[in-house]
């Protein structure tokens, strides 16, 4: 590796950024729990970890977007002129390229550079901007066909990502010293990704530094000089890349618990599961009474697959009274609760058509249904007429479960339903799901948490919008899920 030879040429002992004991809390959740990390010139750090391990939070602390609740961040080359987080980080040459695109689609390529580069003002700024972005694009992606005057909205997804990366490396008011790349190759094809990896190596050899986050293990091993593994908001391993193997890295990321749950479901599932009830074009299928899990890293197409399936089976005229599919939302605020309604009205929402008599809601039947479900799933409230928001998150989620289960739908689609739910409620929900499955209901369950996925009879692991593995029975282990979520082989080399 040529990385090691160029390390620390310019300023050997001053780290570009140093986190010491950084903690970030969001309410009761500890997104970052005492992370200490330094990045020196010439280093390329591969930051690895499963969903919610704290990678993005760590990145946001480094680039000044978040201020740690405890501990502190120190930057090298500080001149002390810039007070607040983000401005300070920028003045020290810290640049971030985010996974979710952060370009303005209505502006041209060169105009987009105006947003991060504050010195682009006055007469002739367009020329400077065009020179900077074209220079970076030519250097990183030789042979690209992007003109600085093109409107970003007209570019393909890969081209947009190239522009974003180029903007991260482009020369500016302060030259880039540490560039954070979060899943930079997610929409690039192999040859372009290779150009990027080569540039990262050249950049580090010249004394720059890169933090590289990717689910492609091959890429990480190719560029990283050191790999830091995060789990539960902590860095649990930090070693030179050469001391890791791909399998060892997967093992380091995983937990050890939640083996027994899988064993139990495997035993009883035999009597419960019937014939196939659904099949989607992308290869997802499920049988009667089966609990099917959708796993993988967040944002790899699981939620979209669920939504596509749900939309294809619902909203048809005449099926309102007797729906084929019911939906349990995970993002309660966005597609779950009606915040101004009572618990009862939230609960009976999908069931209304069968509670209707002569066009009006039958209040007595509605009360009875609500009381029944309150008892069955134990919603903790003394009065169902209270506002839904008076409940805790876990109990709100129970109402949403009841809303779906009260319908007669044979298939229940769940979009990460346990988000922000406490452990006790989770156990109750698992039992509820298992009971309902025993009655012959089919569950499609997307979850970002591995111990939930281990509750399922069969699991489809998604990567890059496609199913990369189908696991069942004893094969459902965190290890297998991780292995299928991360791309093991090299990048087409």
């Amino acid at each position: 590796m040529e990385v090691a030879t160029g390390a620390g040429r310019s300023m050997p002992d001053v780290p570009l950024v140093a986190l010491s004991g950084a903690c970030v809390h969001f309410g009761a959740m500890r997104a970052l729990d005492g992370v200490s990390l330094t990045v020196s010139p010439g280093e390329c750090v591969g930051l690895m970890g499963h969903n919610g391990a704290g990678k993005s939070t760590a990145v946001n602390v480094i680039n000044g977007g978040l201020t740690p609740t405890e501990g502190h961040v120190r930057y090298g080359n500080e001149d002390g002129k810039h007070g607040t987080g983000a401005a300070r980080a920028r003045a020290c040459g810290i640049r971030s390229v985010f996974q979710e695109l952060s370009l303005c689609p209505n502006l041209s390529v060169l105009e987009n550079l105006r947003v991060p580069h504050r010195d682009l003002t006055g007469f002739g700024w367009r020329k400077t901007a065009a020179a900077r972005i074209a220079g970076a694009l030519d250097e990183i992606f030789p042979g690209h066909r992007i003109e600085p005057g093109m409107i970003v909205g007209d570019l393909t997804l890969a081209e947009r990502q190239m522009v974003e990366i180029a903007a991260g490396f482009a020369s500016g008011p302060t030259p880039p010293r540490l560039v954070i790349l979060d899943e930079p190759t997610s929409s690039l094809d192999a040859s372009i990704a290779r150009q990027l990896l080569e540039h990262v190596r050249r950049f580090c050899a010249k004394g720059g530094a890169v933090i590289f986050i990717s689910h492609m293990l091959g890429e990480v091993f190719e560029v990283a000089s050191r790999i830091d593994v995060m789990k539960d908001g902590k860095i649990i391993a930090s070693r030179p890349a050469s001391e890791f193997t791909q399998q060892g890295l997967i093992d380091a990321m995983g937990h050890v618990a939640a083996e027994k749950a899988a064993a139990r479901t495997a035993v009883e599932s035999d009597q419960r599961i019937g014939g196939e009830v659904l099949k989607t074009p992308e290869g997802l299928n499920a049988r009667k009474g089966e609990i099917v899990g959708l796993a993988g890293l967040a944002g790899h197409g699981q939620a979209e697959a669920l939504a596509r399936f749900f939309m294809s089976r619902s909203g048809k005229l005449g099926r309102v009274k007797d729906p084929e599919v019911a939906f349990v939302a995970g993002d309660r605020g966005r597609d779950g609760v009606m915040p101004l309604w009572s618990i009862l009205r939230n609960l009976t929402l999908t069931h209304l058509p069968s509670l209707t008599r002569r066009g009006l809601v039958d209040a007595v039947a509605e009360q009875a249904l609500g009381a029944d479900w309150k008892k069955r799933i134990g919603i903790r409230t003394d009065n169902l007429d209270n506002l839904i928001l008076s409940l805790s998150g876990g109990n709100q989620q129970k109402v949403l479960f009841a809303r779906a289960l009260a319908s007669t739908a044979p298939i229940v689609v769940m979009d990460d339903p346990m988000r922000g739910v406490d452990v006790g409620t989770k156990q109750e929900a698992y039992d509820m799901i298992r009971t309902e499955a025993a009655y012959g209901r089919t569950f499609l369950w997307y979850s970002t948490e591995t111990d939930e996925v281990c509750q399922c009879d069969r699991v489809f692991v998604f990567r890059n919008g496609q199913i990369s593995a189908e696991l069942s029975g004893d094969g459902i282990t965190e290890e297998n899920i991780l292995a299928a979520s991360f791309q093991m082989q090299g990048t087409g080399a």
């Binding site: 977007g65 983000a86 952060s102 303005c104 105009e111 105006r114 947003v115 682009l120 409107i151």
Partner: protein
Amino acid sequence: MNGKYRILLPVLSLTVLLAAVFYLQPRAMSYFGLNLLFNLAVPIALATIAQMMIIMVNDIDLSVGTFVSFVACVTATFLNDAPLLGVAILLASILAYAAIGALIHIRQLPAIVVTLGMSFVWGGLAVLLLPSPGGAAPAWIRTVMTVKPPLVPMAVVACVVIAGLTHLLIMRSSTGTLLRAVGGNAQAVARSGWSVTKLKAGAYALAGFFGVLAGVCLVGLTTSADANIALRYTLLSIAGVILGGGEFTGGRVSPVGAVLGALTLALAGSFLSFMRLSPDWQIGAQGAILILVLAVRLIFSRRGRKWKGAENG
């Protein structure tokens, strides 16, 4: 729809309408005729630019009409009698616009509600100033608005100047680019360390500034004011921005298009008069023209998307 072709449709619709007007009334094809046709389009164009500033940052302003009316009343009273006080009032109203923009962003309020509320405030202030039509235009505004440049009438020159200057300001300058970026991806702008609140306040202040210009110009043309003088500007300005190739969200606006859109809408009124259409039907017919143009645009953008899909797939 590709940005470069976005401007074609407003050009085309204005040309078609102009040709139709000239066909019905060939005498309009003169210095005097053109001035008459486009005279009242100048304040509409300015109000449309004001609306565009707000739509640029993904909001909408339902108070443009009453604000222009208010400014017209100030112009016909204070600016005429006590110029210093008049100027101070107008400056304060621009600041008020900036404050509304900041408030909308800080409290995450829906702009449609806040500006609807403000429209009653401006309308009320206008009625307080001029309970019945009256006042007088300051002489210098009158002179400016009735100046007769050689060859091309004032209205056309004014529209070209407005379109050119706002194009430079919004589409070419670095500040304008930043303002459009707020409409395109406010999160990215905030993440780069800019204050979106300040930028939004700036966009609203620009809207206030152009609203003031619209009111002043209007009084220059009509010589007196009335509290209800420009009520229809709210809808005209929104329609003008959209007709000119702008979109409600995403910071996709075109100042040149907005001016062309305003001209088209003003011309549509004259066209219908030349057709000897009863005034009762005119508003409906104007709406029909608007729907027609927007339908053509929808077909264009559908096609464009299909082509793009074919390219990518």
